[in-house]
Symmetry: C2
Subunit: 224 residues, 2 copies
């Protein structure tokens, strides 16, 4: 009995969430603001990669950052101090994902008017964040070399929902068995339009290509 | 409105879950079976560590394994083929945790009578699995060096709920900044009784100490 009730409630909330996400996506488009949702496991290197990307794009685009954490604020402080861009911290009080309502509240707190790009660093988790449409324009999913190339097999929803994929910590291939081609094929089987960016924030490998891709996507979106 | 309903349902299910977990724990105790719940992020090295531990303990204890995955069976096959112990795969159909009911069903499928130790490899996730008491005798939490020593700050519930903590992939300290002392202090602040085992399944560093600790805990439990 109890399971059936949970599932019903979840579906109802998810339906509400989808409508809310579409509304937010429309509002963002109207204001010419690109919202990038960033997802990965804990410790895959989201914050480090974002600092790197933001510092390369902030001369061109007005950037705001929403850092989501269950109840910490370390990443928000780190991003704000190292990039100088407008940053807010969203605390989910233990929830393992952001939904469209929480994302809308964050966007409202940051403000639409003086921004071109909002980056949402989602909770570190390969499961729940993939289940909720945040209303983002695009989703970037990170998979770090130490996690292993089997993750797309074990967390298929995340690798289905992402739009483009960044293999992080490429410099650590010397100590880990991670087959980039195998991982890419596993993601393509779920997500035929997936794009891949192997990077290292330590050596700068691949960062320029990823930044160029983001630049083009944001400019195309704003020009449409 | 919708949030309030979700929270109420969740609390009700959690209360049921706690009762069910206590029941399972009692049944396990009665049968002298130690249930070890193993939790971590995706890719922290649960399967590799478990293979190593099982092969060192299987001469002494009759071991069964429950591999939980959202919808894959790769880890179950890997454990079964490399250790030869009785293994079943639990698929959660997308749920990011096991609750006491699912765990009970798994234990029933494995059978109580011819086992001393059941190992549950939970879903790779630092959030949801910590929210549900599975009914396990003890919980072992892995934190891998590549994930970073800040994880206890960001996922405090997991580091509060675990009973002992294994720092995995210690051989990779050459490429990562991870302060074992800092991580330990952060966990102790949440969990004053925490015990720590820095290990590498690649070099065997620390594995003997961890196995000895498990051996003592299981024997004490069975003798009580």
């Amino acid at each position: 009995m109890s399971e059936i009730r949970v599932i019903k409630i979840k579906q109802s909330v998810l339906a509400n969430n989808d409508a809310r996400a579409q509304k937010l996506r429309g509002e963002l488009k109207q204001h010419g603001v690109f919202l990038l949702n960033v997802m990965s496991s804990p410790g895959a290197g989201k914050t480090t990669l974002l600092k790197n990307i933001i510092n390369r794009l902030k001369g061109e685009f007005r950037i705001g950052v929403m850092e989501a954490d269950m109840d910490a604020d370390v990443d928000g402080k780190e991003i704000a101090s190292s990039t100088g861009v407008k940053t807010i911290q969203l605390n989910t009080s233990g929830e393992c994902h952001l939904d469209a309502k929480m994302t809308s509240e964050g966007v409202e707190a940051l403000g639409y008017d003086d921004l071109d790009l909002i980056i949402l660093e989602n909770i570190g988790n390969l499961v729940c964040p993939a289940e909720f449409d945040t209303g983002a324009t695009a989703s970037m999913v990170l998979l770090s070399i130490p996690e292993g190339d089997d993750k797309p097999l074990k967390y298929p929803l995340m690798f289905t929902k992402g739009n483009f994929f960044v293999f992080t910590k490429m410099d650590t291939r010397i100590v880990f068995d991670f087959d980039v081609e195998k991982a890419s094929k596993r993601i393509l089987a779920l997500n035929p339009d997936a794009k891949f960016f192997p990077v290292s924030a330590k050596t700068d490998e691949g960062i320029a290509e990823l930044v160029e891709y983001l630049r083009k996507r944001i400019n195309t979106y704003k020009a449409e």
